[in-house]
């Protein structure tokens, strides 16, 4: 495969229902484009994201995983994103410690008003993953498509 020419990364974006999913909707309402390989999964709150889901995504063929939630202090459930922040910090650090490219994981706080930020974030993340190439270090060969 010529390097990255055919590479269409799969990106899973977990979005909290109250801020970031609404932010994603707003970027749609404003017709702000971001790559189609970003697929959003709605969760009630960023604190619903189990590290197991992140690993699952990589196993099944995701090349990047991003979590979006309300800005710290604005959580619909008051404190959920604070827990999510610690969990993801430590999870990402552990993945990094295992030598998994640290650029493949990201957390971004996107409010319901930040449609533009959502699109920009996804464009940037997608470009980063594109540059990084396919996930090989945390993939499951049984899920490979080729």
């Amino acid at each position: 495969m010529p390097v990255n020419e055919e590479f269409k990364p799969t990106i899973v974006a977990f979005c909290c229902n109250w801020c970031s999913y609404a932010g994603a909707d707003l970027s749609g309402t404003n017709r702000l484009q971001y790559p189609a390989n970003v697929k959003i999964i709605r969760i009630p709150c960023s604190c619903r994201l189990n590290p197991m889901f992140v690993l699952r995504a990589f196993q099944r063929g995701a090349d990047g995983v991003i979590l979006c939630g309300c800005h710290p202090g604005d959580c619909h459930y008051t404190t959920g994103n604070y827990y999510a922040r610690r969990r993801m910090t430590l999870l990402f650090s552990m993945l990094d410690f295992l030598g998994i490219e640290r650029e493949r994981t990201r957390v971004e706080w996107v409010s319901a008003a930040e449609g533009a930020k959502f699109a920009a974030t996804m464009n940037d993340f997608s470009a980063t993953i594109h540059k990084l190439g396919p996930n090989r270090r945390l993939e499951d060969l049984r899920c490979r498509k080729d």
């Binding site: 099944r60 499951d140 049984r142 899920c143």
Partner: protein
Amino acid sequence: MKKIAISQLNELFSAISSQKMLYIPADDGAGAAKFTPWAEGISLTDKLNTVRSAKDLFFPQVENLVNFKVEGTKIDIVENRDAAKPFVVFGVRACDCASFDILDRVFLSDPVDTFYQTRRENGVVITLACSRPAETCFCGVFGIDAADPAGDVTCWMDGENLYWRANTEKGEALTESLNLTDCDDAAVTAQQEESRKILAKLPLNGLDLSAFKDEKLLDVFNSPKWAELSESCLGCGTCTFVCPTCQCYDVQDFDNGREVRRFRCWDSCMYSDFTMMAHGTNRPTQKERFRQRFMHKLVYFPNNNEGIFGCVGCGRCLKKCPIHMNIVKVAKALKEEKV
């Protein structure tokens, strides 16, 4: 009897591996040995034995069985067995070699396990006699002579030479393809004599298993000792996974969304979900699970196999059990109780 100088070992391995895949016990970089595909630069370990037994090469921990492709209501069955490739495994110890007899009795009797069968047919076993056994070795209890192991080819090593004796047709065929020098038995006999002196001193030689042979199955089964013995068992699978004779496996499916891959993997009777069925589990506590493992090796297996125990005395479980509970302690405790 043939021989080759130790300095020529690399050439020997090279010659074998030019014909077939060759596995030799090599250091794993973490203080232990494992059967490793030979390649230039890989050398024989000086460890007595590998942590994982030679069983792995014939009955791997994970093995593909078959794939299913589902589309709508249509199911296609797709063969995905690992391609059968001839291989040679060098440096198998007497105990591990004896374990093949036990595995054969399970997998090659009707219904034959064709996956195992294929690997057995494709594999040439070259054993290596022991001259420096460990305190945990007790193969002698099972009538195994560590100084004269079986296998397609038996080897002995001293400071200068590797001595080589083909035992089977497969062994002969391999021998013929190699450039080995003829020699007499003198060096081997001498080494065997030395080895047997040490083997005779092994502390576990006196392990008496007579209690299990003619014992009524139910008496052993109902012994109150099981509760005590199993009390500190963690329920991990270390003993079963390092054991050369454990042969239980589970069949599982992995669905990647496009196809279902059916594979089998080792299971352990020490695990809480071992033989889990719709009604629940039939061995609800660690006591029953623990008892199963030792009853199987010491009672059920010999009862069904002309008195052959399901243990070869390799001592791996003695070394590796996190809490140092093992077949020797169990056998002794049950015997003691009987006395």
